[in-house]
């Protein structure tokens, strides 16, 4: 990791680079990868996500995040019915019919994702062939890609990984003589993306792209000159494919909290040969703002004990932020999947002996949580109210995915998300 001693605090003497991890296999109380469509379809503004699945998939999309606020969703489900299960040829014809009907009604769609589900995977409906076949029919107006968001293969945010991984092979090759360019990978809120663009411009990185782009026609090109920086910790497959096309990863902590954002920008800057002093000067003001905004919540959070149930894979960098910038004590950091390489910089900043768990056996984990009696529990929506009713204070994890939390200007907001449940509990007299 590249850091500037002038700005960043020292690492703990004994850090947590290769920690022991409790691996569990039991009931997993997490969303499947389809859920990622909820933010992906808002991010790529001319993309449509067609889930090929069951009524359960449609019901999940409708129930899980209150997305019915969107009058015009750019996602739908092609619900597999009994007669589709009778023979696969029939299912393919049916899919073509549904897609053609959809595209006729939505001429504004430029990119269509066929999204596999548990049932489509189990019956081995070949969506990559379907995507190829349909692409030939509807190109150049529409490009058809596919990925799987099935719960038997993906957990919650891995759906974004699968979606971006599907995009990578379709990205144009950068010319051989293209200058080195920076590619930021992972969905960020538009406002956050704009903030980072301004900072990169100010420190002098000229070619900066974001994957995914906001429009299907504006996706970046990649090649051996691509230096990529992950904005999210759950993009293992996407990273692998980018490297297959010559991209090189910039090792950095994730841009959560003042320290994370500074480390992330520094890592990029140094890769592009920018002098640390120039970077420090460019980020001095936002870094100061971030520290100030975070410090407002320190009194409320310092010394409080936090327990993470696995949810978004953001748990490790968030734990790092809460521990180092707010003084919280980490009781257990559960995560669905532990990508050691990508998390290396964050892990190095955590204290030795931090209790990590990967996967889940939800009933056993609840037992541990009850026993540990933490001050605040991060968990999914299925668990939050029952744990509250037992007297625990919870922070529902999905908000960490749906709220802009990355970057300097959002560091205070991230801290506030954890302070709010405690604040609320303190206010209520009944």
């Amino acid at each position: 990791m590249t850091t500037s001693p002038a700005i960043l605090p020292e690492l703990p003497a004994s850090s947590c680079s290769n920690p022991p991890i409790l691996r569990e296999r039991g009931q997993r109380e997490v969303f499947c990868g389809l859920t990622g469509i909820m933010w992906l379809h808002r991010k790529i503004q001319d993309a449509f996500f067609l889930i090929v699945g069951s009524r359960t998939c449609a019901h999940l999309m409708q129930s899980a995040a209150g997305v019915m606020i969107f009058a015009e969703p750019r996602f739908a489900t092609a619900i597999i019915e009994e007669r589709d299960l009778a023979g696969l040829a029939d299912a393919n014809d049916e899919l073509d019919r549904v897609v053609m009907r959809l595209l006729e009604r939505r001429p504004d769609i430029k990119l269509l994702f066929l999204v596999g589900s548990c049932p489509s995977e189990v019956i081995k409906l070949d969506l990559s062939r379907a995507a190829k076949r349909l692409s030939e029919r509807v190109s150049p107006a529409v490009r058809v890609l596919n990925y799987s968001g099935s719960g038997i293969e993906t957990t919650f945010t891995q759906g974004e990984d699968a979606c971006l991984a599907a995009l990578v092979p379709s990205l144009a090759a950068a010319p051989a003589d293209a200058p080195e360019s920076l590619l930021v990978v992972g969905v960020l809120a538009d406002a956050v993306e704009d903030q980072f663009r301004r900072i990169f411009a100010e420190i002098g990185i000229r070619h900066v792209d974001f994957l995914p782009a906001r429009k299907a026609g504006a996706m970046p090109s990649i090649g051996p000159g691509t230096r990529y920086l992950l904005a999210q910790p759950f993009l293992g497959e996407t990273a692998r494919l980018i490297e297959g096309r010559g991209g090189q990863r910039i090792t950095a902590p994730f841009p959560l909290g003042a320290e994370g954002a500074a480390g992330w920008i520094h890592a990029a800057g140094v890769t592009f040969g920018i002098a640390p002093a120039v970077i420090d000067a460019a980020i001095a003001a936002p870094l100061e703002r971030a520290r100030k905004a975070v410090s407002r919540y320190r009194d409320m959070l310092a010394g409080r004990r936090i327990f993470f149930f696995p949810d978004s894979q953001l748990e490790v960098p968030i734990a790092r932020f809460l521990h180092r910038e707010l003084g919280m004590e980490l009781v257990e950091v559960g995560t669905p999947y532990f990508h050691k390489d990508h998390l290396a910089a964050d892990l190095a900043m955590l204290p030795a002996g931090t209790a990590f768990s990967e996967g889940q056996d939800v009933d056993r984990q609840i037992d541990r949580c009850r026993k540990a009696a933490p001050d605040i529990v991060v968990c999914g929506l299925g668990l939050a109210n029952p744990l509250e009713a037992e007297g625990m204070t919870t922070k529902w994890a999905i908000e960490l995915v749906f709220t802009p939390i990355q970057g300097f200007e959002q560091a205070g907001d991230l801290a506030e998300l954890f302070a709010r449940p405690l604040n609320r509990r303190a206010r209520l007299e009944v």
């Binding site: 019901h59 129930s63 009604r105 299925g382």
Partner: protein
């Protein structure tokens, strides 16, 4: 394959979860992948339940598929039994579990648990949530009460003299539309009538309670979609007659009291006299004159839709212009009800079709589900919710039943509330172009919560292809602005004049005028045509 944006019902295993979650001491082991655990949040978030649903999911993954998912299922059954110690267990598969064909029923039987294990066959690719709830409840009843059934051709034992009549209250589940409050309203009513409630089920019933369902003299079915098959089986096995009137509205509650009294062999007259609703007087109050003939569109599950149509016409003086349901199992009942209102029923689970129908009929009030609330909001029509699918708002903190006389009072309030009030409506008629008091202004008691046509229009323009079939879109938009294409056109002054008519009757005025012109071969509608048509049709 069916292209679906929003869906009225979940899959059948969610119906089974609604039954399991309503009950006590029952556990559901579901062979399902990890994503299916989302269903827990329906109960913990939408219904704000303080306990996790009593469901254990096997959460198999891709890597398990090559191995022994059957063994996984058996292990999970045993662990769930050891941890939760239920008195009975239901077992089954979700849509994906069904495809891997592990036969949960056989596996659980072979597992040798010391409690009744009830297998569920819920075909996910054919059936839906309410069917799943009904089938689950039926299987639970058949398995647990079955051993106590009367011998074939035996008559029910006669109730001892002096013993109070007893009934069961069947149908209420978790995540039901006001089931919590309906149970309280109807239990109270029955108790005041001197009837003992033997068992309420599935709501807070234990397996032991289900086993003694046969002790009642008759069954009250509150929600036929859920308790219909179980009640029919109880009728066959225990000779228990079924009260089939669903007590939604004043008239239906009176009928219900009469029917119950007949089965309980008591005189209904004192109860019909003692029980009171404010609805009849409120409806007769002159303030309610403005409700006369309001055109209402009704859509929901069959029970609530049919009941709402009766209340709308007989108790509020509305005109029912549309009636439909997503409950295909009850299509015949809804068609019959619609015929009584002189209209054709809309039987569909395609939300786009419902949207098109609302746009076409241009009602003044929509009574529907949360889906119709969205439709109505987009089309600028007032709406009240009468049926599942539910939303967190459908679980109000206050007591708010739909059934019984108190329920009728709730219906009056909630259906009338979204409308423009009487004098307000008249003033709007008088001062149509008033700068503060125009079409876009919300009813004063609704604040900002009402329609905002100016904001809605650009949104529609920006994404014109929202999945409403083109004709519906056209109908919806021309209700506000624009000139109709086709054989009959509007002169600009006539169009201008039309706009002075309050928005909530404008659609009707437009349609009436066009059909008037069409019948007379008038190609261009003028101001004269508009008023000729008004005179022809009345209001």
């Amino acid at each position: 394959m069916q292209l679906t944006v929003w869906t009225y019902e979940g899959p059948p295993h969610v119906g089974a979860m609604r039954v399991a979650t309503a009950m006590r001491d029952l556990h559901y082991v579901l062979h399902a992948p990890q994503g299916d655990t989302y269903a827990d949040l329906l109960f913990t978030m939408i219904e704000r339940r303080s306990k996790r649903p009593p469901v254990t999911y096997t959460t198999f993954q891709a890597r398990d598929l090559g191995g022994d998912t059957a063994a996984l299922f058996q292990t999970v059954c045993h662990e769930a039994y050891e941890r939760f110690r239920p008195k009975a267990m239901i077992v089954g598969a979700s849509c994906t579990g069904e495809l891997i064909q592990d036969d949960p029923a056989g596996l659980a039987k072979a597992g040798g648990l010391p409690i009744p294990v009830i297998p569920l066959e819920l075909p996910s690719y054919q059936k839906k949530e309410n069917w799943g709830a009904a089938e689950t409840f039926y299987q639970i009843v058949r398995h647990l009460a079955g051993p106590h059934a009367l011998p074939p051709n035996a008559a029910r034992p006669v109730r001892a003299a002096g013993e109070k009549p007893r009934c069961n209250l069947l149908g209420p589940t978790a995540l039901g539309f006001r089931h919590r409050d309906d149970v309280r309203a109807i239990s109270g009513l029955l108790e005041r009538m001197g009837i003992t409630i033997n068992v309420t089920a599935p709501w807070e019933a234990s397996p032991a309670d289900i086993a003694r369902l046969g002790h009642a003299d008759f069954n009250v079915v509150l929600y036929p979609e859920i308790a219909g098959p179980a009640a029919q089986w109880l009728k066959r096995s225990f000779g228990q007659p079924v009260v089939s009137t669903v007590p939604i509205g004043v008239g239906a509650t009176r009928d219900f009291i009469t029917e119950v009294a007949r089965l309980a062999e008591i005189d209904p007259a004192p109860f019909l006299k003692a029980e009171e609703s404010r609805l009849p007087w409120y409806s007769r109050s002159v303030d309610s004159t403005y409700l006369t003939g309001k055109r209402v569109f009704i859509f929901g599950d069959a029970t609530h839709a049919i009941a709402a149509a009766r209340v709308a016409r007989e108790e509020l003086g509305f005109e029912v212009v549309g009636l439909g349901t997503y409950s295909r199992e009850f299509a015949r009942d809804v068609r019959e009800a619609a015929a009584r209102h002189g209209i054709e029923a809309l039987i569909t689970d395609d939300y786009l079709e419902v949207e098109a129908k609302v746009a076409e009929l241009q009602p003044e009030l929509v009574l529907g589900t949360q889906m119709e609330r969205h439709i109505a909001k987009r089309l600028g029509v007032p709406c009240a919710v009468i049926s599942a699918p539910v939303h967190v708002q459908d679980f109000p903190a206050r007591y708010s039943p739909q059934m019984g006389f108190e329920g009728a009072d709730v219906l009056f309030d909630t259906w009338v509330h979204p409308l423009m009030m009487g004098l307000e409506e008249h003033l709007l008629g008088m001062f149509r172009d008033d700068f503060e008091f125009h079409d876009g202004a919300a009813p004063s008691h609704l604040g900002h919560a009402s329609r905002a046509p100016a904001a809605a229009a650009p949104a529609r323009a920006a994404e014109p292809a929202f999945e409403v079939p083109a004709p519906a879109m056209a109908a919806a938009e021309t209700a506000d602005v624009g000139v109709l294409e086709g054989p009959t056109g509007w002169a600009p002054e006539a169009e201008q004049e039309l706009r002075k008519i309050p928005f909530f009757v404008r659609g009707k005025a437009r349609r009436n005028t066009e059909s008037f012109a069409g019948q007379r071969g008038i190609r261009l509608i003028t101001v004269e045509t508009l008023y000729d048509a008004k005179a022809h049709f009345g209001r």
